[in-house]
Symmetry: D2
Subunit: 371 residues, 4 copies
Amino acid sequence: MPSLNLLPVSNSTIPGSNKSKTKVAIVGATGYTGQELVRLLLQHPAVDIQAATTQSYNGKSYGEVYPSYTKLTQLVCGDENLDELADQVDVIFLALPHGNAAAKISEDLLKKCTVIDLGADFRLKNHEDYPQWYQFDHPQPALLRHSVYGLPELNREKIAGAKLIANPGCFATCAILTLTPLLRNGLVKLDSIIIDAMSGVSGAGRSLTLGTHFNECNESVKAYKVGSHRHTPEIEQALAEVAQSQFPVSFTPHLVPMNRGILVTAYASLINGVSQEDIWNAYKAAYAEEPFVRLCDRACSDYPYPETRWVKGSNFCDIGVTVDQRTNRVVAIGAIDNLIKGAAGQAIQNMNLVCSWEETAGLMQPPIFPA
Amino acid sequence: MPSLNLLPVSNSTIPGSNKSKTKVAIVGATGYTGQELVRLLLQHPAVDIQAATTQSYNGKSYGEVYPSYTKLTQLVCGDENLDELADQVDVIFLALPHGNAAAKISEDLLKKCTVIDLGADFRLKNHEDYPQWYQFDHPQPALLRHSVYGLPELNREKIAGAKLIANPGCFATCAILTLTPLLRNGLVKLDSIIIDAMSGVSGAGRSLTLGTHFNECNESVKAYKVGSHRHTPEIEQALAEVAQSQFPVSFTPHLVPMNRGILVTAYASLINGVSQEDIWNAYKAAYAEEPFVRLCDRACSDYPYPETRWVKGSNFCDIGVTVDQRTNRVVAIGAIDNLIKGAAGQAIQNMNLVCSWEETAGLMQPPIFPA
Amino acid sequence: MPSLNLLPVSNSTIPGSNKSKTKVAIVGATGYTGQELVRLLLQHPAVDIQAATTQSYNGKSYGEVYPSYTKLTQLVCGDENLDELADQVDVIFLALPHGNAAAKISEDLLKKCTVIDLGADFRLKNHEDYPQWYQFDHPQPALLRHSVYGLPELNREKIAGAKLIANPGCFATCAILTLTPLLRNGLVKLDSIIIDAMSGVSGAGRSLTLGTHFNECNESVKAYKVGSHRHTPEIEQALAEVAQSQFPVSFTPHLVPMNRGILVTAYASLINGVSQEDIWNAYKAAYAEEPFVRLCDRACSDYPYPETRWVKGSNFCDIGVTVDQRTNRVVAIGAIDNLIKGAAGQAIQNMNLVCSWEETAGLMQPPIFPA
Amino acid sequence: MPSLNLLPVSNSTIPGSNKSKTKVAIVGATGYTGQELVRLLLQHPAVDIQAATTQSYNGKSYGEVYPSYTKLTQLVCGDENLDELADQVDVIFLALPHGNAAAKISEDLLKKCTVIDLGADFRLKNHEDYPQWYQFDHPQPALLRHSVYGLPELNREKIAGAKLIANPGCFATCAILTLTPLLRNGLVKLDSIIIDAMSGVSGAGRSLTLGTHFNECNESVKAYKVGSHRHTPEIEQALAEVAQSQFPVSFTPHLVPMNRGILVTAYASLINGVSQEDIWNAYKAAYAEEPFVRLCDRACSDYPYPETRWVKGSNFCDIGVTVDQRTNRVVAIGAIDNLIKGAAGQAIQNMNLVCSWEETAGLMQPPIFPA
């Protein structure tokens, strides 16, 4: 009987290949993002998880923290010692609260392994943005120059050679992918962009707050951090690079009562003379060959726009786009799973690029529905 | 032991008053909107429900259709005969699918009683909008002149004398109330208005569709009818009257997985020189005395914006407003219960005006939370 | 225009009556149960809320704590001083964590006013049950003799004359009402009773715990405290009194992902010869005249069993009962709103009895659906 | 760059093996169960899906029916022609409404390929149970002798050689696995067994009904088919085989507002002298080596009982068991994902046994959480 177990086997080379598996450590492995990294990396055919560290559950088996992993992994939560980990692994994933990673990374450490930071500490190029948007002074502004913004659809080549990758924020990932073709092709007025977004509650993490207590957010919706959400400068930085021009955007996140998923609805005024066909062609040119971006076919009348259920559990970003002739605006809508393309999945996509694995390796699980 | 039962007693005058109760009929009483009318009118101290008609449950007791009403009412679902009903009651509420009411109303009927239509058939003043937005030719364009748009905060006086009231749509109610102070005072650029909105699933009614099957909409969000939703012309018509100028708006509704509630997030570019203080003053001037509009206090740091949970089960519209200095836009956010202020509650508010009851009569139930 | 506002007016007598309103204080007014008391008492025609005390929000207006109350009440959260309150009010409602009330009540205090305790501190007659089930030694075992178990359908007369009322637990209320007719009439074997129950998350209160964090309980169900839940001795004590015999029951609560509602499914083996008709007659005899208990009509094929949605927002307990001939068991199912009949509503029902108001006063709101 | 795509590649042999892939057809591929088969089989390393048939979407690409599959499969929904399919494939999965499969299967067809029926048509050995429980006369009672009940933990060896496999019902799977160790070891009184169960709404399938309309089942729970659910005889048949004795059970299913998951809480009276240790040993003996059954460790205080979230998206059945000394009963609790271990996953587990693949092949995805 051939062995087909999808879980990583103990041998450290890939079956049918002489290439070694990538050794990884997950720092902050028991938050939602860290757990999603564990889940996906356990399914990755070319990865060995060497360590999972945590502040709260040190010494516990991973299955005690999350009973879903019983009989699936022998991982035990360990101490966080980045220098030691860097000697042992090829890639360190950091899934820490904002502000925690910046002080821990050094150029020396980056000589020993690649760091993929799922927090915000290395996303913004201008260190002055940190006190303004994140309320802390960046301890290592010099490192910001080294970091590569880990959105493969924009930065694939830089990522492949990076030692320090700033994995994008969940809202930012969805907003940037949704708007990029409009800006790359100069189809819309830069000062007209409005980004309205919704997130499931897992985006707020596992820390206890009144706002994420079941009865306080179930069966209700709200906007929050209107005009002041921390993903705003990250979105603006990425879009400025695409458009080759600086401009502010309006960004309003909303909390909706579901576990996972982000939906972005973005508005922009069309440059005169731009047609629906121009728009559509820009999206096809940008994404037809992208493995993880899917365009909603205008001809499919049942599902003309993205819905978060169709990406849940996957690394896909689904995008639909419509021209409203009455207002001469384009409405572009994007959907992702906030914990996958918006966090752990994209981090693995970045790792695949760094390690020269196929970009889709370990990430082609179909969405799970209904779920 | 004094009798304090809140349900309407059999005597047809108000205790402590020599005024007769208002006799009403509900046509289409077993859909969600009709049922909400029944629920609220049973609690109204000055109303007798004389008839509840339905297409699907004729002859059944109301408690058989909705077991929640067992021991609360003796209502039996009856045949719809508008002419007979008009002879017996003071007010007829129509809670019918769009297109069904228009042909049933006549000037003769309106001589006998007041009609409050919760559908869209008498909302648009220009009969040519019906084929464009509703895909039917309006059978009685002449009646459109008689109808009054039943948004009391805008049209209180006209409503008081009306015989035919077009009760506003749920999204329209929330969007118009949220934006009116900005337009009444000329604070924003008219061509810049974008209305992003979310609705709970009850807004789609009780008819079975794949999109409202539990597993198809639970744990997911989507936009729908982007740029083409039927409440668009209604919003534009009302805002044009406020602004004294015609202009199109972008309107995108979204479906979110909860039973009730609408949240509107509206964006507009400020006229040069308009301050946060000007904005705030405009909202206070418009709504400080309104019984059903509440402004989110900027000083309340815990809840700076409306949330649908705080209006659920009530006739309130909560509004919060923020100026985003970076983009020179105002973001105005409104929340209502789609079945109450967005439908049945507002219809009763209109009835109160027509019948010279206190405008809040029967409508001051506090929101129910958590629910 | 006659004044029909349902909220309590400032005059302290009932319109059309020369009887004074009941003055009440709510101690622990900002938890879910306390808030529900505020909500319902604001709608009660014969009550004035004199004070609302809280540990966490002292000095804040009630509308700051719960924005749903803006424009509805001027209540300000105050200090808890039971002795002072007892001088000013007729009834004190205690909505405190278990173990907090016991030490605060004295015989002197009970001479000044009636206390209705929504916690468990006075529910169990045998003080030795407290260390076993609640892990504290009862500080005032003598007071347990004074307290009356506040389940009106069982103890209506004793409640009317009580000074200290132990308001039943939510699960206990539903389980006892569901089983009582079977036991009162000796229809089932006492040692065969199994009570399986589900509760919405609000039953766990507003304190933050990992288990009630949205993502941890949404889209999942679990049993908890199997065979050890604290409502067990309370259920056994009440059923023993009905059956005139002591016996243990199996009780398993489950947590289900919804805001409100309790469903009890109880099983018992029939005494030989007992028929479906006997069962039905016992339930009719027990509850036909009860204002807040409704029996699911066996003839109503669409809704043969209770569903929590039909009682949500109301003080009703709906009960359905079926004989399973194959196993010679009866299955009795009950549904309540855990915050109303399971807490605040029943407390007001008790207050009505104590104060000689109509038992249903302020409690006849129809269930709210869909909600 | 090595190719690591998890999706089935076009070559029909397994990489690193000279064994051919299993060719399968899915009949009824667009219901929830059929779709789950597609999802899991696309991830199976040793399967090629040759055909997916459907009544409603013939000729549509699978990605048009379920947009989640865009860029993941080229499957096109085809006509159902069982005889043709049987010539082309090794295994046919039937995911049809009850009563539809029975007439379509013949001994000739079973000579050509193996049939795994996910419906109920071949589950009951006694053909007279069909009119009683399913309201149809079984058209091919002779075939019932050939069918093997596809619960691998009970029937692993028979399944391996079967041509016609009756895949168990979702409730039945969970109930039987939860109770088997108690019965196999004679630890409980047979006439005392009560099975209380809850299911997410996907168990009701994708057909539109009022009861599965979002607003009718969201935020509510109910029991249904009390004492008359069709999985009852299936449970009794399997348990009778384990216990070597016929006996009836009480079974009550409940509908709870979530997409996926089944929780069974089962009660039984202990034979005198049976200890908690005896119980625990029986479960360990039964399941310690089972790849898909996990026992909740009594020592794990945070999660002593199964929760559906820990199995969601996986083929696991989690089981916890407690002795209640006060009532001398055992309470055994089991949790599964109704669409995986309760349907599609178990069907694939059966296929693996039939085809001599490793039993866990394609089925070791960790549960997805929060989801």
